[in-house]
């Protein structure tokens, strides 16, 4: 009798120690071995020609249904006098903010930032479709996917191209190489080199979102007071 009780106690303790050890290994101490990345995107407006190849590629690769879009290029213009006219193009897509308003407001936690990559994503299963995130995004890049009925947006091709070790579809598709993608925490990456040596800007930074979609501005076509 005594032996069986001792055996039970020993195995129970071993189980508890093992379980704790496992959870510790998974926790912050364990993750120290993994490297975290902060993926960012640069849209060079001096190179963009407004051809929409990025948008077309994104739709195809990520199965975005008709009527909604993860990414759009806004065209402003024409500026100048005919026949010397020109346009300016700006990209509208998820900025993958460091201080995300959408993740903050999601009631179920379906909107989340993947700490390993810095990419903001949506868990379509957990999403109930309350549309709080759509209202909360000051860049207005989120939408309800008519097929899954959950919130959706650009995720830097996290579920498609990134998993295969490739660049996001838009970056590869751009004929003028106006898009640069990479890890902000890697000092040798092209993204960091470009950002350090070229004047660039981000939009709506006064709202405190700390977005990771950078833009290299082209000369303005108009004077804005």
């Amino acid at each position: 009798m005594k032996n069986s009780r001792r055996l039970f106690l020993k195995s129970a303790c071993a189980l508890v120690v093992g379980a704790s050890g496992y959870t510790v290994a998974q926790g912050p101490l364990g993750e120290a071995q993994q490297t975290t990345k902060k993926y960012a995107l640069i849209h060079d407006e001096t190179k963009c020609i407004g051809c929409d190849a990025c948008s077309v590629a994104c739709r195809e690769v990520n199965n975005v249904p008709e009527g909604v879009t993860r990414l759009r290029i806004e065209r402003k213009g024409p500026y100048g006098e005919y026949p010397e006219q020109y346009f300016r193009f700006t990209r509208h897509s998820c900025q993958h903010c460091e201080d995300t308003p959408c993740v903050k407001v999601c009631p179920t936690g379906a909107a989340y930032k993947d700490e390993a990559t810095g990419i903001v994503s949506v868990d379509a299963w957990k999403c109930v479709g309350c549309q709080y995130c759509i209202a909360a995004c000051p860049y207005q890049v989120r939408f309800i996917n008519p097929v899954t009925k959950a919130a959706d947006k650009c995720d830097f091709c996290k579920e498609t191209r990134l998993k295969e070790g490739k660049l996001p579809a838009c970056v590869s598709a751009c004929p003028t190489q106006a898009l640069t993608f990479g890890d902000l925490q890697d000092p040798d990456s092209q993204v960091v080199q470009v950002l350090k040596h070229t004047p660039n800007y981000r939009t709506k930074t006064e709202l405190g979102t700390r977005p990771k979609l950078f833009r290299i501005g082209s000369q303005d076509g108009e004077v804005r007071l």
Binding site: C51, D52, A53, R75, G77, P83, F87, P175, G182
Partner: protein, 163 residues
Amino acid sequence: MSLFSKIAFCAVSISALLLLNIMPVKAEVNRLQINQDKCVKCHKRNGLMAGVHGNDALALTCQSCHGEKGKHPRQPSLIVGFSADSNTKVTAQVDSCSQCHEHDVLYQADWTHAVHSNKVGCANCHQLHSDSDPMMTLATEERSALCGKCHGITPKESDDEKL
């Protein structure tokens, strides 16, 4: 029938059928007013106008777009050529189309007209002599690919596809 007769009979009947199918279309194009111009005598293969510009109601002639014959072909002339290896300045080519097509209206149809008007001839994209102009039925993907044809940088294999 001998084997030779059989083959000959098939060949003749098939040709006849093919001709009967083609001939009505060709006959229609051939009957257009614009294709009665004397230019067609030499430019039979590439000169026939089968597109909408050949419509009799428009009453266009080869000279309407290509300019007066002048001393062509024996001596240099001011004839407007629209092909890729043409000597005609881009502005002259665009001016020819601008006789009828206002740039404001073209801009409404497609914004890209506004930025290419003094850089690229209209015929770089539009094909007028064939019976349909591919620009009229472009799908979104084809349109993006078209931009890339001229604006594209050849991607470097090594760093483009890998993260």
